[in-house]
């Protein structure tokens, strides 16, 4: 089905089901309960999961397949966001204008930056991409371009946003909410209550989810295509590539541009969900984040980057919100002394200490699961398989791009 191998089709279907039912799966705890803190099924975070999933899937096409480690991909994310918000300002709040533009413009930027940066390899390449991205960040953060043009281009550290005085030539009256063709507002949410549970079905989330599935499907096709194979060959042995009559530069550049366009799309979607483009999303920390997401999940695997993105965003948004009040409510069932003791123990790892937990998780994953989270999943799966059929012959069909 879909022109993909059976295993890939199965993976795609599983991912589709998971995203479709995410509002249920991410809200396993009743709304009022102490554990509700761990629920992640609210629109903003669900949107972030899939948007950063797209970002990481695209990054993986470059890093996972070719091995070129870009440290400046957040620049394309920012470019995509600015493109969409500018379309809001100039035309109207319909996201249909901005998203294709985000892809095209980030593609153009990726072509220029990639063309120059790919003249070098290894860490020299990484630093070139970092330098370009940091330049773009500095320019956006202080709106340096705006100083030359005499009008704001990025609106500095506040972030680019839509004002009532903006032209919005396609409409007469001012709008304030991004929508798709006037059919549905991105923030529309239907809340379903089942007993104590509550589930949010958000239009923006499903829009992003559909796009994520499309990009995931495209990534599968790329992984399994001759082009994808060539990219893995670039990573494996450039010398042999050259002496097999293959020009490595355009292969790497094409991967760079494709992943840049993925990043631009992700950035565009961020602005489509929340009509503001902040300069921080171009900073090196943002570029570093997608690197971490990809490695954490499992570089070069199809589903790994999505898992990594979800993992990091979950910690950022859920663990940072756990304060001492919440801790007390968790441990309220314990006797007073022990309750306070537990709160003191857990306190450094949550709330303002969420970074500490994240750092520890990075170390634990990379020490114990060298292949990232995907390897964790594989180990669990192997454990089950071994239990079920001890005498099975070793699986020789394991393809390296798994």
């Amino acid at each position: 089905m879909f022109g993909t191998a059976k295993r890939d089709t199965a993976l795609l279907i599983i991912v589709a089901i998971l995203t479709l039912f995410a509002p249920f799966l991410l809200n396993p705890f009743p709304a009022g309960s102490a554990m509700a803190q761990f629920n992640a099924g609210y629109p903003d975070l669900m949107q972030r999961f899939v948007i950063f999933g797209i970002f990481a899937i695209g990054f993986n096409i470059l890093f996972g397949l070719t091995g070129y480690l870009s440290f400046g991909h957040a620049a394309f994310l920012g470019v995509g966001s600015y493109a969409v918000v500018w379309m809001y300002k100039l035309l109207d709040y319909n996201i249909i204008w901005g998203l294709p533009l985000a892809i095209v413009i980030s593609g153009v930027f990726a072509l220029m930056i990639g063309f120059i940066s790919l003249r070098r390899s290894g860490i020299y390449f990484s630093i070139l991409t970092l330098a370009f991205a940091q330049m773009m960040f500095a320019i956006s953060y202080s709106d340096l371009l705006g100083r030359f043009f005499g009008t704001t281009i990025t609106n500095g550290e506040t972030g680019l946003q839509v004002y009532r005085s903006d032209p919005q030539v396609l409409i007469d009256s001012w709008e304030s909410v991004p929508h798709l063709l006037g059919l549905v507002e991105m923030r529309s949410t239907y809340t379903m209550r089942l007993g104590d549970w509550s589930f949010d079905f958000n239009a923006g989330y499903y829009f992003c989810a559909v796009i994520m599935l499309l990009t995931f499907y495209l990534a599968i096709r790329i992984f399994r295509s001759p082009f994808g194979m060539m990219l893995r060959a670039v990573k494996s042995n450039q010398q042999r590539m050259n002496y097999t009559g293959l020009n490595t530069r355009p292969y790497a550049l094409a991967a760079f541009v494709i992943s840049g366009m993925y990043a631009g799309l992700a950035g565009g979607l961020m602005a489509a969900m929340d009509p503001l483009a902040g300069a921080e999303r171009m900073q090196w920390t943002a570029s570093g984040e997608v690197v971490l997401m990809t490695i954490l999940g499992g570089a070069g695997t199809l589903i790994g980057p999505v898992l990594g993105a979800g993992f990091i965003k979950y910690f950022e948004n859920i663990f940072s919100k756990i304060n001492d009040n919440v801790l007390h409510s968790w441990f309220a069932f314990l006797p007073d002394g022990i309750e306070d003791f537990m709160v003191v123990i857990v306190h450094p790892f949550v709330g303002k200490g969420w970074h500490l937990t994240l750092g520890l998780m990075f170390m634990l994953v990379v020490i114990f699961l060298p292949g990232g989270l995907v390897e964790g999943g594989q180990r669990i799966a192997r454990l089950f398989r071994r239990k079920n059929a001890r005498n099975d012959a070793p699986d020789g069909s394991k393809t390296p791009a798994e």
Binding site: A131, G288, L292, I295, G359, M363
Partner: protein, 342 residues
Amino acid sequence: MDAILLQILNGLDKGSAYALIALGLTLIFGTLGVVNFAHGALFMIGAFCSVTLQKILTISTISIDETQKDFLGRPLEVKTPIMENWFGPEIGGLIIDWSVPLAILFAIPVMLVIGYVMERGLIKHFYKRPHADQILVTFGLAIVLQEVIKYFYGANPIPTPAPDAFRGSFDFGALLGLDTALAYPYWRLVYFAFSAVIIGAVFAFLQFTTFGMVVRAGMADRETVGLLGIDIDRRFTIMFGIAAAVAGLAGVMYAPINSPNYHMGMDFLVLSFVVVVVGGMGSLPGAVLAGFMLGILESFASMNEIKAILPGIDQIIIYVVAIIILLTRPRGLMGRKGVMEE
């Protein structure tokens, strides 16, 4: 003219911090082949060695002064440092005043131990792993280290002044017979001299000791040296400790220049990578040269005359220079072929 002289001084000073951090980083790159994202955190821990020693030296006894009130209107608790009790206010005060230079002695063993533990406990297991894994684990470690510091010291910068003897500035203008003042802070001159000594010591160590020769040989060709029956691993462990100590010492003496805070390591991390790569992978002189060069260029770019022509150039100069150098010289200023190019 005087403006340019001043910026050269500034550049040398900034450059010495960059060079010291990059030196340690490139030692780890070159000898161990490890991408160490925790190197900035080592610099930060060095700065907090100064803070810690200052706190230790100012451990105080508390007495109640009924004549003064605190902010809630209660009698004020007056703190007297134990140092002043022991040695009298004069000498005790002097010891506290000199806590930053004294912290050098404190920091060397601390940083060597931290470096040793890091290498044996963690980094050692990642020599054979892909660079991606090294990035993830050292980045995780960097976050953990800075969060631990934040837990104990808070997020606010902590003033760590230089000894009173080094307050104020030296007037080069008078020295050179210029009309205009060309004042430069004493402590910054001390920092520059200190870095020069450290850099010189590292180079001398690598150049003139057998240990250094083996390490240099190991940087050039690890396998061959290993085949010669030399225990290169143990020497690399010591090298990691030294790299940590260099970063730490850079931090110790930096504390009076800018009050240390827990995230100062991350502020320097990206920059130090740029410096190392511009200098060229695996080249110690390259790292030092690039450090000073970028420091001076950054200082020049912040001159009003330059900013008048190119507004905002000071924000991006480092990156522009990095791009130009990497495009004109494929392996940075003095890089060796084949190091971190795969």
